[in-house]
């Protein structure tokens, strides 16, 4: 059991507020991802759960027990850092076993547990190496091993893949998903990469300026964004935002902006949206066209692999019925 409840959590650095009244329920055994642009408070929230930052007000309950005043080590949480934070002077085995040796466990126990973790993460051959002699992916696994060995109820990941190259990132993403199924613990994961968020999470928490914008499953967020910010943040390529004045043939219900995802714009001779193609990107399996509307709003359109769109030519588009979003002047979703 490891359910987390956060109530009215506030935090400030001096006069800058970084977390405003955070309320959040994290179910046992779930994989929760905090996303948001940099400076949105996602890392601070994670570090406050870890106990590396002091809260100002509010409480953090782990299975009903308030842990917000406890030391990190007493919270039953473990953390994997962005820089891995491996101790450079220690071998892989010493790195993984450090927490146990600090807890004064005997050498045989430490050796056994380190062995088990190393096997799980396929690190057996590297136990006597120093971190400097490992590749990025291996270091990442050691960092995860150091968290696993403590057998925590909650795993915290702070942008763990951002230092890896694109290919390795995909591989590690799959490994983390796999690991999570094996360990059956609660995972909290921070990233600014919405693809990571969409692929890994059961629940995504979108943060902006220290406040929660929306909580929901990846598809909920994709289909029913609560506001323009979430709509723009989730989904790749980004949702197009068109001033309502430039759109005709829709019941606007007083909306200021119309949002359409690139995949919901179709080429249609009779389409009401007219523009000029500025750029075409062919990626093989898919293509994107970037077209400028008369008011210079640039919209992205997903094209099938075989298309006849040519740069500088006019393009008429129609919106797939029922696939547009209406946002009020305050950014809230209207319909």
């Amino acid at each position: 059991m490891a359910a987390i409840t956060i109530r009215n959590l506030d935090k400030a650095y001096g006069k800058t507020r970084v977390l405003h009244g955070i309320n959040l329920e994290i179910a046992d055994n779930s994989f929760v991802v905090f996303v948001g642009p940099s400076g949105c408070g996602k890392s601070t929230l994670l570090r406050t759960i870890a106990g590396l930052e002091e809260k100002e007000r509010g409480e953090i309950l782990l299975d009903g027990r308030d842990i917000s005043d406890e030391a990190p080590v007493d919270r039953d949480v473990a953390m994997v850092f962005q820089s891995y934070a491996l101790y450079p002077q220690m071998t892989v085995a010493e790195n993984i076993g450090f927490a146990l040796s600090v807890a004064k466990q005997n050498k045989a126990t430490i050796g056994k547990k380190v062995g088990q973790v190393a096997e799980l993460l396929r690190l057996e051959d590297y136990l006597e190496r120093k971190p400097s002699a490992l590749s990025g992916g291996q270091r990442q696994r050691v960092a995860i091993g150091r968290a696993i060995v403590r057998d925590p109820k909650v795993f915290l990941f702070d942008e763990p893949l951002s230092n890896l190259d694109a290919e390795l990132r995909v591989e590690m993403r799959l490994q983390i998903a796999q690991l999570r199924r094996r360990l059956g613990a609660t995972f909290i994961y921070v990233t600014h990469d919405q693809v990571e968020a969409m692929t890994l999470a059961d629940t995504i928490v979108v943060l902006r300026m220290g406040m929660i914008e929306q909580v929901g499953s990846p598809l909920e967020l994709y289909h029913k964004p609560a506001n323009q910010f979430v709509a723009g943040f989730i989904g790749s390529p980004k949702m197009n935002f068109i001033p309502a004045a430039a759109v005709s043939g829709l019941d606007l219900k007083g909306a200021a902006t119309v949002g359409v995802r690139p995949e919901h714009l179709h080429i249609d001779e009779a389409g009401s949206l007219k523009g000029v193609v500025r750029t075409v990107e062919d990626l093989g399996s898919i293509s994107y066209a970037y077209a400028a509307l008369p008011d210079e709003t640039l919209v992205t359109v997903t094209l099938p692999p075989e298309h006849s769109v040519v740069v500088d030519q006019p393009l008429a588009l129609s919106i797939v019925p029922g696939r547009s979003y209406l946002f009020g002047a305050d950014g809230k979703t209207i319909g």
């Binding site: 406890e70 030391a71 080590v73 007493d74």
Partner: protein, 305 residues
């Protein structure tokens, strides 16, 4: 119970880690520096009761001819001492550092040789060089018999005119590598990016040196000037070792350090004018005199962080 104990333990351990260093420094370094402010207000020969005299020590120092003349002489001679040393260091130091920055054969070997005197003890250097420059010493043998530069031996440390420059030469001999190393590292640091650019612009060697190398030497020069200044205005080891606290001959080598020492511990065994308050006052005056340089140094250090 175990839950709160980590934080409590952490707090106590922090105190335990900080305390030894803070106490050591606080008692034997920081407190005395603050103590200058209190002690300069008393008249006290080191034993017996202290007498509070207010600012009398300062009035004496600047008004009473006995002290004022010593102060003026010591300060003036200290300036001359400083000027000779800094001149030698900047001229020779820059010259030698430039030569070492070229692709000179054996430049690492030369650098090691040049650095050799630096770690030597001031006391050893003083006694060693004093033996060398004695009237019957090797240097005079070289000058009189070898090079025939002079008909008779030169009394470097006995002559009131020569004694102070000779001590300055000792200091320069001892510390020259300090200037060389700092200037050399400034040249090496600038080399890669700036010089390349200058060469691409078609500058020749002399133009490059003048336009690119010398301007970046300014910070190194300032650092050397400041550090040497702070040092020579409080450190009078060579004079104390070779000339005694009275700055023989006839106080021709008296500088602030000796004056300060004399005021607290006396020049000769028979000294009567011993006053710790006066010593503190002189220390304070010297501190104020070198304070601009000292603050500059502190700001530079903090900025570097």
């Amino acid at each position: 119970m175990a839950k709160t104990s980590y934080k409590t333990k952490a707090k106590w351990q922090r105190v335990a880690l900080l305390t030894p260093g803070a106490l050591l420094y606080g008692i034997f370094n920081f407190l005395p520096l603050l103590g200058l402010l209190a002690l300069c207000l008393v008249d006290w020969p080191g034993i017996g009761p202290m007498k509070f005299v207010g600012l009398d020590n300062f009035l004496q120092l600047f008004g009473n001819p006995f002290y004022r003349d010593q102060l003026i002489k010591a300060f003036g001679q200290n300036l001359i001492f400083f000027a000779i040393i800094i001149g030698a260091m900047l001229v020779f130091g820059t010259f030698l550092a430039l030569l070492l920055s070229f692709r000179t054969w054996g430049r690492n070997f030369y650098r090691s040789i040049f650095f050799l005197p630096y770690p030597l003890a001031g006391a050893a250097v003083a006694f060693l060089l004093e033996l060398i420059v004695r009237t019957k010493g090797p240097l005079n043998v070289l000058i009189v018999q070898g090079l025939h530069l002079s008909g008779k031996p030169i009394g470097f440390l006995g002559d009131p005119l020569l004694a102070l420059p000779t001590l300055a030469a000792f200091y320069s001999w001892h510390r020259m590598s300090f200037a060389i190393i700092l200037i050399l590292s400034a040249i090496v640091a600038v080399r890669v990016h700036l010089i390349e650019a200058a060469m691409l612009d078609g500058a020749n060697r002399r133009q490059t040196l003048r336009a690119v190398v010398f301007p970046v030497l300014a910070p190194a020069f300032i650092l050397i000037v400041v550090i040497v200044m702070v040092d020579v205005f409080n450190n009078a080891d060579y004079t104390l070792l070779l000339m005694g606290p009275e700055g023989a001959p006839a106080r021709a080598t008296d500088i602030m350090g000796t004056f300060l020492f004399r005021s607290a511990f006396g020049g000769a065994a028979t000294s009567v004018n011993v006053n710790f308050g006066m010593s503190a006052a002189i220390g304070l005056v010297t501190a104020v005199a070198i304070l601009p340089a000292a603050i500059f140094l502190a700001l530079r250090n903090l900025r570097k962080d």
